[in-house]
């Protein structure tokens, strides 16, 4: 159903270096990015960072890692936000800001193109 993209453009799931897991299930990742699961297994707050809805890497992450179209993520966030039953992720402006926020915010989770990965963030695999 989803079209293929070059492997280089595939975004990678990243987290704050002190996050105590190194892999997540698709389901858990989807719940976190839907703002419906807000604790890591160790009890720490999850803090979700995303790029704007119209950014190419956000679209690629939603479609290929979460199997959700960005419009559906937005629908879930909006429904929770405007009924008072949830909060929305923090939107960052650039991939550089994404890396900085994820590296410095305890409990942070986000995504980056593989070329942007360095040792300030930890890479999580999705199984």
């Amino acid at each position: 159903m989803l079209s293929a993209v070059p492997a280089l453009a595939e975004p990678v799931l990243v987290a704050h270096p002190l996050v105590s897991v190194n892999q997540l299930t698709v389901n858990t990742t989807r719940l976190m990015f839907s703002m419906q699961l807000d604790q890591w297994p160790d009890g720490n707050r999850v803090r979700v960072f995303v790029l704007p809805d119209d950014s190419a890497i956000h679209r690629a992450f939603s479609k290929h890692k979460l199997s959700l179209y960005p419009r559906q993520l937005r629908r879930v966030w909006d429904r929770q936000l405007y009924s008072g039953t949830g909060q929305v992720p923090e939107t960052v402006r650039s991939e550089t800001e994404m890396r900085r926020k994820v590296a410095t915010t305890p409990g942070a989770v986000g995504y980056l193109p593989s070329a942007m990965i360095d040792d300030t963030v930890s890479v999580l695999s999705i199984r």
């Binding site: 389901n27 989807r30 807000d38 959700l68 179209y69 909006d78 008072g84 039953t85 909060q87």
Partner: protein, 390 residues
């Protein structure tokens, strides 16, 4: 109110106010324009009206990982139906008793949005509606208070399955209602008062596949309205029992969405004396809607909707005859086609234009159209909307 609007638009960095992650503040401002060939909808629309404005601001604070406190103020101007006075749309505590990837259960207390259909919870936020106005045959704007939000408690659960998840809500609440409800159900605003002092029960079960492609749901509200007549009223005390329910189905593909909802509402009048009398009827409404993304920021939408005061008298002839012809048959049904376009200029600013062809006047407010015999059966509507959010 203008100051507030300027404040909202002035903070146009299109970024929500962030106080370090635990406190979030968001808002929206919407302005509509309506022009009808005949009849009045959201203002003096025959001359073209700008009497549709929605302003909202909300705040939420994560007290702990499992407790969220939130509230939203709403100002809504809607022709003669709503004058823009600020109201508390919701103000609640969301206590998450358990939340893991294996499911969640929690409790809401306070003023809670009613989980009815696919759209009721966020019906006043233009960005979350499929069109400028929600399909009126299912989401009445003339009696919106009946189902908008209510004070009480609600239990919710998220139950995962292999292919998706169930969302379940059960609530017991007291409904604050306004004069529009009395005018819609009793025909006009009497000296006496119509109240919903008895407990309203709300239930919803909604299933969504993991990929968000399929959504199906059933939701219902059981409401009792009590009328205390005053000495000068021509009708006596009475009681109205109603059960409003909606079945919903949606399919989402990457570029298009198909949505259908079916509503039924058995209404039972008891008392009220000889003039109004005891009677029961079943209100019915449904629509089918398709949307297609031409570009990522440009969406086309088409919808067909039908609604009836009494599904056993779809032509309205029997009901009209019962009023001695005072209410024309076309005031008991409405069938319409709508064609529209949505342009997301930025992720936070949206423009819409729609055209609607109507047969019947059932969804019109009698507050805006006080003389039913002066309404026109076949009428058309053009509307525009601009909405900004942060």
């Amino acid at each position: 109110m203008l100051c507030w609007l300027l404040f909202v638009l002035g903070s146009g960095t299109a970024k929500a106010i962030d106080f370090g992650g635990d406190l979030q503040v968001h808002g929206f401002a919407t302005q509509g324009f309506v022009k009808t060939t005949d009849n009045r909808f959201f203002g003096d629309s025959e001359d073209g009206a700008f009497e549709f404005t929605e302003l909202g601001i909300n705040a939420s604070y994560k007290v702990s990982p499992s407790v969220l406190v939130s509230g939203q103020l709403l100002s809504r101007n809607a022709g003669k139906m709503d004058d823009g006075s600020p109201t508390v749309d919701y103000a609640l505590i969301d206590w998450n008793l358990s939340n893991t990837s294996d499911g969640a259960v929690g409790l809401l207390a306070g003023r809670i949005k009613n989980t009815l259909g696919l759209y009721n919870e966020t019906r006043d936020v233009a960005f979350t509606r499929p069109s400028i106005f929600l399909p009126q045959q299912v989401y009445f704007d003339r009696v919106r208070d009946l189902f908008l939000s209510a004070d009480g408690v609600q239990i919710y659960g998220r139950i995962p399955t292999d292919s998706g998840r169930w969302m379940v809500n059960l609530g017991a609440t007291i409904n604050p209602i306004d004069k529009n409800v009395e005018i819609a159900f009793l025909g006009r605003d009497f000296e006496g008062d119509l109240d919903a002092d008895d407990v309203t029960f709300i239930a919803r079960a909604e299933y969504e596949t993991h990929d968000g492609a399929w959504r199906l749901g059933w939701s219902a509200a059981k409401v009792t309205l009590d009328f205390d007549a005053s000495r000068t009223d021509p009708i006596g005390d009475g009681r109205i029992d109603l059960l409003y329910w909606v079945a919903s189905l949606q399919y989402n593909a990457e570029r298009w969405t198909l949505t259908g909802e079916y509503m039924r509402e058995p209404v039972d009048f008891q008392g009220f004396g000889p003039l109004l009398g005891s009677r029961d009827s079943t209100v019915e409404g449904y629509y089918l809607q398709g949307s297609y993304l031409l570009r990522n920021d440009l969406e086309l939408i088409v919808r067909y909707a039908e609604g009836y005061t009494d599904r056993d008298d779809r032509s309205g002839m029997t009901q009209s005859a019962a009023t001695g012809g005072q209410l024309p048959p076309h005031s008991f049904f409405q069938k319409d086609w709508m064609l529209g376009v949505r342009w997301d200029v930025t992720p936070n600013f949206m423009l819409r234009a729609e055209y609607q062809w109507n047969d019947g006047t059932w969804t019109l407010s009698n507050r805006e159209n006080p003389d039913p015999s002066a309404t026109v059966k076949d009428w058309e509507m053009f509307s525009l909307l601009a909405s900004y959010r942060f």
